[in-house]
Assembly symmetry: C2
């Protein structure tokens, strides 16, 4: 039986189709709510007949660190991607993490493809393709750029021809459903055997569990999960992070502008605040999340800044660089001087002027990044073996354990 | 203008009726959910025309520490009540906190009554009367023992005659509604001017936001709030703690038995685990909450126990005695060697044999005690003055600020 090894973990090569879906921003409450109303038959079947748990995502509870974790089976301290956006300590530049420069080591998808397993990765947001597709010898593309694919760059001649419909709107539920439909086509046409499908959280940023729009979205996902199972795949579903309402009772966003707070207290240029949720998709969240990084010009201000932040409304915790690296498994060399984590119903911003609030005023703000969005669903369509079950029940399960659980602890090896 | 002072804070004596309701276990989500469906007209009016915020309760997010905080305007480090149940370090005995022996200093209710303001305290659970009624020169009784009142002990000859119906069932929504009806009678009959009314969380332990049973309960509370406002009272609503679902997707309670874990790892009698949620009301929660205290026989095991707990499924944080006292404002002299706080969907128990799980198997377990139940509603029927508004928006508001907000920052002084 063949296997590959990555970051100290061995993974068996599958004989059956394996599909891992990262339902971006799928707070466990969406699933609980849907199950309580018997809304999603296939998710319900996964819970009753397969394996289900509520697992942790990695901190910060943002998209890039967690997608990198899922495809590497490791926390950010190992793979090096700790945000969507970061400050380069050496150059002082602010950098969007949209390629694999920051990625340390390879990915499981790359290793599987190199071991002869036909593997593909499809994402909603194009920013992710260069991370999860790093070293991958197989199709890798986004629905965001489905109309622009070329065989040489993406491993598929025309995604639109594959899926049978044109590129979806960037701000629509279909950006995600298109990913699943592309995966179904790759599987049906026998192009790929292992699929990693990563969706967008546009719907979850806008709609709470139980709202008609989130119901419809989850049901459309559920329907496609059923099709994957019917095609003989072992399906795993996780999320990159949860999602919480970030408003007061009137529906107004509760925002602490950390840059303004520190500038007022310690003077201009005393601190640089980085919002690692920042990405090109402003209409989701206006770059407002529950986790920011603070770089201080003068380290002697560390205690004063910490005390000030701890007393501020909306702040749950302030961690030093050492604490953040140790307690949250983050890469120490990249970490800021301070990490600030907000309370459940608050978000943290940099300066008021840095955030386009008009982009997020159509609905009560929902976002993520903190501890309160760290819990994610962990569902597998097939049961774990007894060894896997013992492991899953005794460990602190993470979303990045999903490939290990499926490849090593379900009947994924046997041919159909 | 008269005033009283307690724990460094001055409170103006009110000229108008003032009613503070502690809606036990009222997670903000109950209010948000009800408001989104326009279910509760009076709560809605408080939000739109009065003052509303989401505030913190004190940790641990349990009933006794928070009721003591609300009536003293201070955290447990000041008033000394840090749980419902504790281990006496000197005698080694486990003690239920059901009287004022642990209370340090007096209460605001006592001071108001001694300053000539007709003040009353009514609770659902009798265990609380001796804490919130400590030093109170006025009616103080529970609906749990409404049938057993005497004028000398409780300040009212017959509560049943006052309310007009017999003592309610201990496990019923009416245990709480009876408290409100008693308060309405005390106000209507001009017996009291200031009322502290503390309810029971029996409904919230059993029913999630939006379920018919919790809707009906909240609507009944809302109806009575409207009556208090009609009687000319300034009404404040807070909660002693929030409430979270503590189960997996199948609805099974997720419980980490901390005593068993430590006994297995460090040997018998190596640790004593205290569940400070413990109270006589087992059918609410089976003494399973999200915060436990650990007393180690040998302090050299501190690091080993901390590491073991941090790795265990369901644990969010482990604090040392010093950290707990400092970060959570808890009395250092009473604090345990370790404080363990669970993740949102987990509870912590002592030994499996210590908990009667049959008592909580009728419905998916809901409970509290951790950070994830620290957010509580803070609603006032009348607007704050500009000074009060500035204070409320710049501070980390706690449930124990409610009397300060009403007495010092609304028009509570002026006569009707």
């Amino acid at each position: 039986m063949g296997s590959v090894e990555l970051h100290g973990r061995r993974y068996r090569l599958p004989g059956k189709p394996v599909v891992v879906i990262c339902i971006d921003g799928c707070d466990p409450e969406y699933i609980e709510n849907a199950l309580s109303r018997k809304l999603c038959p296939n998710l319900s079947l996964m819970v009753s007949s397969g394996f289900s748990a509520i697992a942790d995502c990695v901190m910060p509870s943002f998209t890039n660190p967690n997608n990198a974790s899922i495809v590497t089976g490791a926390p950010p301290s190992v793979h090096g991607i700790a945000g969507n956006y970061y400050l380069d300590r050496e150059t002082g530049e602010r950098v969007m993490v949209n390629d694999a420069r920051m990625l340390r080591g390879t990915t499981l998808l790359a290793l599987l493809s190199q071991a002869g397993i036909r593997t593909a990765a499809v994402t909603a947001k194009d920013k992710l393709t260069r991370i999860i597709g790093h070293g991958l010898d197989g199709p890798c593309f986004s629905s965001e750029r489905a109309g622009q694919t070329t065989l040489s760059e993406f491993g598929v001649e025309s995604v639109e021809a594959l899926v049978g419909r044109p590129e979806p709107d960037m701000y629509s539920p279909d950006l995600s459903l298109y990913v699943l439909d592309a995966g179904l086509a790759l599987l049906r046409q026998n192009i790929s055997q292992v699929l990693y499908l990563s969706l967008s959280d546009f719907v979850q940023h806008k709609y709470a569990p139980g709202e008609p729009e989130s119901d419809a979205f989850l049901l459309a996902i559920d329907h496609r999960i059923g099709q994957f199972i019917q095609l003989g795949a072992i399906v795993g579903c996780v999320a990159d992070h949860g999602m919480s309402r970030k408003t007061d009772f009137l529906g107004n966003a509760q925002i602490l502008f950390v840059q303004d707070l520190l500038t007022d207290a310690l003077g201009p240029d005393s601190a640089q605040v980085i919002c690692p949720i920042t990405d090109p998709f402003v209409r989701h969240h206006g770059a407002l999340g529950s986790f920011v990084r603070v770089y201080l010009a003068d380290q002697r201000n560390t205690q004063a800044a910490t005390d000030l932040l701890r007393q501020s409304p909306g702040v749950h915790d302030v961690l030093s660089r050492d604490e953040a690296a140790r307690e949250l498994s983050l890469p120490h060399d990249l970490e800021a001087d301070l990490v600030v984590i907000s309370q459940q119903d608050w978000v943290l911003g940099a300066s008021r002027q840095d955030h386009d609030l008009s982009a997020v005023q159509d609905r009560p703000l929902r976002s993520h990044g903190g501890y309160t969005e760290q819990r994610v669903p962990f569902l597998i369509s097939h049961p774990l073996d007894s060894e896997g079950l013992a492991w899953a029940l005794s460990t602190r399960l993470h979303n990045y354990d999903i490939f290990c659980a499926i490849l090593n602890h379900t009947d994924s090896v046997g041919q159909d």
